[in-house]
Amino acid sequence: MEKIIVLGATSEIAQHTQRILAREQKEMLLVARSAERLRSVAADLRIRGARQVIEHTTDLADISQHAQLVTFVVENFPDFDSVLLAYGSLLPQERCRHSVELSLREWQTNFTSAASLLTLFADILEQRGSGCLAVITSVAGDRGRSANYVYGAAKAGLNVFLQGLRGRLYRSKVRVLTIKPGPVRTPMTSEMPQGKFFADPESVAEDICRALERPRKEILYTPSYWRYIMAAINLVPETIFKRFSARQL
């Protein structure tokens, strides 16, 4: 992995991942919504050693912009070998669950637009017969909980989408990496009570970079103990689980 496109480059996890990649002198094309924030992130990465940093500003949740993004990539960063999809949105569940509009927005950001981008990039890499699509989903997509099912539903959809995509692309030697972080200390969760279960974005970023370099890695739980926690949670019968699923972590 030498040339990576990061979609949602100003997300906290993405920023820390990019810092590690910069130290390893990778080249990157960063896509984010705020030009000003992206500029400071890109400047930082250049000083930290990134060989090349290209900035592109667009609202990734807006599907109508996706074709233009792909054109930009083809013109400016044609020989990329990896894509990291890192953006997402987590509005307070209490607000979403009674609002169809807010829920649709969450799904638009977290699932529909992500699936759209993956469809476009999958075609490029499939034709080329190499590369990696890495996508940050969430442990929230492994089982629906009362506390976050609007968000969780989108992430679950994304997980299934990625499973299918993996099956389609493995013949063309394109790897699909599903990244499932537990709760992480980021701006996205800053309004949630942050218990002991919260991981630091730095350590999540380290796990992601390690997984990017391991060609056989397909599903990454980070921190790794979430694999076991979710395995256990998935064993709990629904009749029991429903009684506890409202609790915050």
């Binding site: 906290e12 924030r37 400047a43 930082d44 000083i47 930290r48 509009e101 927005r105 950001t109 800053s190």
Partner: protein, 456 residues
Amino acid sequence: MMNVTFPFNDVDRSAPIRPLERPREYFSWGRYPRAQHESVYKVYWADQVEAILAISRPGSCLPYGLGRSYGDSCLNAGRSLVDCSRLDRLLSFDAKSGLLSCEAGVSLAEIQRITVPRGWFLPVTPGTKFVTVGGAVANDVHGKNHHRAGTFGLHLARLRVCRSDQGIVECSPWENVDLFRATVGGLGLTGIILAAEIQLKGIPGDEIEADAIPFQSLSDFQTLVEASDQEFEYTVAWIDCFSGGQTRGIFYRGNHADGFRDAHKKNWSIRVPFAALDFPLHRYGLKLFNSAYYRWKSRRGSKARVGFNEFFYPLDAIRDWNLLYGARGFLQYQCVIPEAAYDVLQEVLSKIGRDGMGSFMAVLKRFGRPKSPGIMSFPRPGLTLALDFPMRGDSTLRLLDELDEIVVQNGGAVYPAKDARMSPRTFEASFPAVDEFHRFVDPALSSSFWRRVTGG
């Protein structure tokens, strides 16, 4: 059918930042005093700072970096902190001129890690690298090269400050000079520092040619300083404050050595896992440590080539060493005494010795002439002594009050960055410019320290 329209320009995605839900406890390095904060804002982007200041009540906020101030100058009991440690982006670096521009939450450790292999060094560095640039400016920190280079503030080309009443203001030695001079050493009260431009210093290598020379009295120390400050860029002394009438210690001096040997990679550290019981730093423990340290250092050959981390940041190798002082925390005391008053220093040291309150690391250094632009800057020509004392209640506080008395009477000053208890009178005597400084304090900002020393 509901339409989803673009862009999502409602409040949700550019929402005004809200305080953290159930934040961790924010300490100062001495862990005394402890403070409950009403709220903590963690900022991730410079643009969020303006929004926070815009909605904050008068005197409600204080920027917080890595919490290395010892006392209460980084605390704001009952009010709000703005945690700026994530404003840690480097904004530009000219590898030819050594001019670095960065956000204020960048730590000195990060700067050294990135610039040292490229031949650039911090012009001034304190004894720990785990401070932010903003904190280094706000306390106008000094280091072992004060006699040559002066304070951190002397090497700033520009600051970007966010104020509740003026928005974002650029200031420098040439532009908005008054605000610049108030912000350097301004304890974070003149606005939240967003970014700084620092002129780094070119170095021939990443190691230090260091000398360690034992001395047996203050006059020996004086002789060593006189002989060394000309030829050595870095000088400092450690003293054993349990040694009775004669003050013995180790004098360190050093210069940058030629050749890069990846010294930034030699950077091991261990971590203190939890607040210790009091006894390791009990009087006898301290006494034992001090005399063992003296013997060890005076036996080892004096000349050595060491990595810069080892020379500048020996204590950083023990992460969270402040926990060794136990649950009650400790107080650091640093004063400066004008050079004419050498015997005053002896008086201070004997007093400490008599009270049996001696310290783990007592450090002595002669400040030089270079004058800081900061009107509230602490360093001034003279001898500076820094000590730490385990917090043992009233007796500790009483001793420090007595030391204040001696220092102030002799025209000295006490260092706010390390203070948790000085009186308003001591503060005013130490900082005659405080009346002028008041004008520059941002109406939205305050600190526990500031309220204590101004009675506000």
